[in-house]
Symmetry: C2
Subunit: 330 residues, 2 copies
């Protein structure tokens, strides 16, 4: 028995929307085509439901885009199911994609009783349709939003969007939400988190308690120098007291031996620091910087492809980011 997930609580959107998109791109016609497409990807979107079915399946359709060579199809186009146990969200199963339209039993043979469930959508593809399957005779209903303590926007790059976590629930904003009970809104824009004015204005217009700018891997050093002040001031103008937390780019492990790449990231991070210091001098309050130099550890094993963290890399990022942001969000 399948139920359309559109009738269930959808978590993770910056503004409430009917579709499984992150942002209503019709309302932002000045965004580039690439950014609009990325905003249709399901990164950070989660369906909340409850059911007493011992078996939970899903039918879903994504686009026909070619899978990325640095990600599992599961994180790219698949689903990730968590169930609450003893007050904690625990992994229960995945939806493995094999085609544009897929059907997969994510978990079965569970013990009796109603369960609260969170279903993470694909981080790098658009969900065109999604329905949740349960055993006949069982019940399913929309769930609550468990991440209501605060709302924090993370605007960033492919790393924010979730490349290259192993599955959607392992993207670092998703892990932060489960850990902290906070709604971290994933506005990671793979390769395109470049602080364009129109995107900065959209980010600033979101009603949120804090803003994390993890967007310093995508713009050139020159773009960082040119654009950082604008997005910070745009946010500050609309949110006088919200913490704004800048995160320098992760070290690019392709730059472990490639001196050109290394130099480029050093210049990105130097300019990020300079802009941060200038803004502080200008009197911008509640502005913070998390240094990038230790985000992936020191053994050079924290990426899938030299650029995007693997799950070890994300784990190390969280060990730096979580203690840095926790006092600012309490």
């Amino acid at each position: 028995m399948y139920t359309d997930a559109a009738s269930m609580k959808l978590i993770g959107q910056a503004f409430p929307l009917k579709s499984f998109h992150r942002i209503d791109t019709n309302a932002h016609r000045n965004f580039s085509a690439g950014i609009k497409r990325l905003l249709t990807n399901g990164a950070g979107l989660v369906i909340s439901f409850k059911t007493n079915s011992p078996r939970i399946a899903a039918k879903w359709c994504v686009s026909s885009s070619k899978p990325h060579n640095n990600m599992t199809p599961i994180v790219d186009k698949g689903l990730d199911l968590y169930i609450k146990r003893n007050g904690k969200w625990e992994f229960a199963g995945v939806g493995r994609p094999n085609a544009v339209c897929n059907e997969f039993v994510m978990v079965k043979d569970m013990e009796k009783g109603e369960k609260e469930c969170l279903l993470y959508l694909p981080t790098y593809d658009e969900v065109k349709s999604l329905s949740i399957g349960i055993d006949s005779g069982c019940k399913i209903a929309s769930g609550n939003d468990p991440f209501t303590k605060k709302k924090v926007v993370i605007y960033g790059s492919s790393v924010t969007q979730g490349a290259s976590a192993s599955r959607p629930g392992m993207a670092y904003p998703a892990r932060l939400s489960r850990d902290m009970g906070i709604n971290f809104v994933n506005l990671g824009l793979s390769g395109s988190g470049k602080m364009e004015k129109e995107v900065a204005d959209m980010v600033a217009s979101i009603q949120a308690d804090a803003f994390i700018l993890d967007c310093f891997a995508n713009p050139s050093p020159e773009q960082i120098a040119k654009r950082t002040a604008y997005i910070v001031k745009a946010i500050r103008a609309k949110h006088p007291n919200a913490p704004i937390i800048m995160i320098q780019s992760v070290f690019r492990e392709t730059g472990n031996f490639d001196l050109t790449v290394r130099k480029f990231v050093e210049r990105q991070n130097a300019n990020t620091l300079t802009e941060y210091q200038k803004l502080l001098k200008e009197g911008v309050k509640h502005l913070y910087l998390i240094p990038g130099d230790n985000l992936l550890g020191k053994d050079h094993e924290g990426t899938t492809d030299g650029t995007h963290p693997n799950d070890i890399g994300f784990d190390r990022m969280l060990q730096v980011i979580k203690p840095a942001i926790s006092p600012l969000l309490n």
Copy 2:
């Protein structure tokens, strides 16, 4: 300028072979077709070379098999390059696959000087051809085998073979080799590490200093009860003093909520323990067991798909396995 990698030192084979296969399947006509195919996969195979080129590229062809939905194409069909620095092997770049035949610049713009390089082959596909590209005017030559302290065979499942590490060098036997300077021969047979008599005989025939049996996730509990004594005794008959280290199956995180899966793995691991204890009682010496219950940690986040470790899961496995085997191999 491309050089055929067949002219370079090839590390990781149980017996020296001309092809990029793990075992000469023509010499084992009684193996199943599935096992023969898996033995053509490049898991654990490494090309050792040295070059003074600031740029290293690769051209390689694999099969036309469909990529697995629980792995990155990089670990499945791609390449992973390490370079020695200050006596340690450090990540340098990957070869990203996009088709059956691929060409990719793995690293460029390196500082001058000769470098020792290790190139890991795809863990889940056959390499039909491979050549290494350097800048014209530079030199390339076959390298040494850095893993000569000992030779240890790991016979096992998909987990051994490398599912679902992010890239070939992150499969746990590969990580052990770099960490310990020991040649861990990867005989992981995805889904097919079932201790069949003919495979057990082949494993026992390998000249090695120790044997790790990480093969208790694939056979049924009944097969474990029936076959474990045979493979242990076959190895012991040929290698009177070599440590034989059994590793219980990792906890299947699909069994976190699925009671049938959980029960099945519990029975696998109970039977593995029983067989171990029977063999000890019979007087088999130098036989060890690593318990499976803590291999992936306790937060249920250590897999990509509920079955196969992600890089966090492999990291946790190594935290258990390395201290357990180190004293036995010294």
